[in-house]
Symmetry: C2
Subunit: 374 residues, 2 copies
């Protein structure tokens, strides 16, 4: 077997305006390059304590079980479902895009009896539709995506939806992968049972950690399970023992990723959530106006259009993939294709975290203008 | 809710001589601080291709399914079992330490009918014992730990054990979390079906990725499952689609961690496996001789003592935890306590990857000598 030889790492410097990862601030990268300590080092345990307070701030919650899991946002989604669902449990999944589909697939794999309610791509649910579905059966879990990264739609009425879920006896799981850090996410006010997110989108850290928060109600349900969750790796009760007083070994968490996430959250706290949401909105509005001007109008109506993730209609006769590839190759700008049925119809443009900057919007619009002309 | 305020990241600089993480080379940290690209960026896909070749080199395999999973070593263990086991399958787990216990716990959670064979902490299995156990029943999966991080024992005869497993119709899963990169691991020669490891031990990268390799035989079993694995996040067939030609989206892998692992593997290839194993052995032998000298003899007999992880007997009358705490506080050196029944009887000292350096051995011995005198 020959020994492989490769040159020094030499990756392109990209302006990341896709659906995530977003760009990492130099402060975050510097923090991440700090030599790691052990996973039970008192210095790392102190970082968990601080991270937990910062996560409670961005989630707007007092939940004791608030952690950053050692995996990507997808691991957060799986942890939420795998800890609540036992085989044969009834779950209702609201699907208005790809990540709703993924919730349904995961719940099915976990042995739930899954019922689905669906809206076409680009639409959201009315409170009434969800209430009607919740009435049909006694569901243990109801899950819905707050900000659908596949369509750019924000599901509104989350507080009312959560109240309806509880009225009919269901726990509510909320996907805040794209929303956390760029638009209001009010876990306690809305009374959400489990919400999860990802480090690399609106929070502005590199990928690899999944923030998650669990209500007292959900915690009790987890602690009363008949059998432990099928996943040891994503067992939230074991996380609670590792992050809690006991500091019981569970897995070797990446100090590097926690250094980065702590710094990204610290930046969010310095900016303040209100100012952060306003920045995301202002840059998104600048983008939306510019897109209209160049004939690439936003796909989602303004009432529920997401500031962190815009889907923009590809003009007639334009090959969306060619434009996207040229943006990457010639301008080092990443945007993404549409998902599923929207694949050839829209582009997905992210303005999240450190990527949500006026200069990035102006550059993208100028580059798109050039490419659509040529 | 008040906005939390914390100071700049200010963690201690530690000499990591515990059971992992090991220290990261400055080259690895520099690579990790490179601004991330997207999870489908052609530059990252190229990195996967290179990483795959480097992983095949360290695993000594030609297996097509060779990836680095987006999680810690524990996620690698769970992926190996969750992809092979279907509810009701018979699994035989060899337990000669904590990580064998963990394999049994995971297999049980996944719905396997688990039989256990056990050796007391600090011992290993004979080929005959394992053969006798394998004969009892037609097992679908047999799992064993190569290098028990909880005891410092190397399970010998792996090639013969794998042959026996196959003779009796079982697939063999091998835990190489601590061994990969510091002692010979010969996946193809030994005919192992799934082996997994961790980035932060003998490979010398920060924690967060779990290298894994899957034989053709295991791949066929996975592809013929009656139902998909309960875990979507750790579904190896979905990984194969993401790392393969299709590059189908599965999760947002952390470019930062892959930059780091690629660099750590590149360092291993530059050094060469033979020289790398010799370095680990030479530094371990220096440690063992020094420990004997100061009255802290190695716990495991030389025949199967692990170079990357040494358990050393705590002298009579010494409080092992006080010494360990003082080593950390006064000398910034991390070593670990024993596991389970060995908790108060041994220390665990790691010499893995970049931590396996002559100067670290000399410093640890000098510090221990001081502390045991005082």
């Amino acid at each position: 077997m020959t020994t492989p030889r490769f040159s020094d790492l030499n990756v392109s410097t990209r302006i990341l305006l896709g659906p995530g990862p977003s760009m990492a601030s130099p402060r975050v990268l510097r923090a991440m390059a700090t030599p790691p300590v052990g996973h039970l080092d008192p210095d790392l345990l102190q970082i968990y304590t601080e991270e937990q307070q910062l996560l409670r701030y961005v989630f707007q919650t007092e939940n004791e079980w608030t952690f950053a899991l050692s995996g990507t946002g997808t691991s957060g989604m799986e942890a939420a479902l795998a800890n609540l669902i036992e085989p044969g449990d009834a779950a209702l999944i609201a699907i208005h895009g790809y990540f709703g589909e993924r919730l349904a697939e995961m719940a099915t794999r976990l042995g739930a009896e899954v019922d689905r309610i669906e809206r076409p791509l680009g639409e959201i649910f009315s409170l009434k539709e969800i209430e009607t579905a919740l009435k049909r059966k006694r569901y243990k879990v109801f899950a819905i995506v707050h900000a659908e990264t596949s369509t750019g739609a924000e599901q509104l009425h989350i507080g009312e939806i959560a109240a309806a879920a509880h009225r009919y006896g269901a726990l509510i799981v909320l996907d805040t992968v794209t929303s956390l850090g760029s638009i209001p996410v009010k876990i306690d006010e809305w009374d959400i049972d489990i919400a999860y997110s990802a480090s690399q989108k609106s929070l502005g850290a590199p990928s690899g950690l999944a923030p998650i928060t669990v209500s007292e109600r959900a915690r009790e349900v987890i602690q009363k399970r008949k059998s432990p969750p099928p996943s040891f790796y994503l067992d939230l009760a074991l996380y609670a023992k590792y992050w809690g007083e006991e500091h019981a070994y569970h897995h070797t968490a990446s100090a590097s990723l926690h250094y980065a996430l702590r710094e990204a959250l610290r930046i969010a706290a310095e900016e303040g959530l209100k100012a952060r949401f306003a920045r995301h909105r202002a840059n998104a509005e600048l983008l939306w106006a510019g897109l209209e001007e160049i004939g690439v109008p936003p796909f989602i109506p303004p009432e529920y259009r997401l500031p962190p993730l815009t889907t923009a209609r590809v003009p007639e006769g334009v090959d969306p993939h060619r434009v996207r590839t040229r943006l990457l190759k010639e301008y080092n700008i990443e945007i993404a294709a549409g998902f599923g049925a929207l694949k050839d119809k829209v582009w997905r443009i992210g303005l999240m975290g450190y990527s949500s900057r006026r200069e990035n919007v102006l550059l993208l619009l100028a580059a798109l203008r050039e490419l659509l002309r040529s």
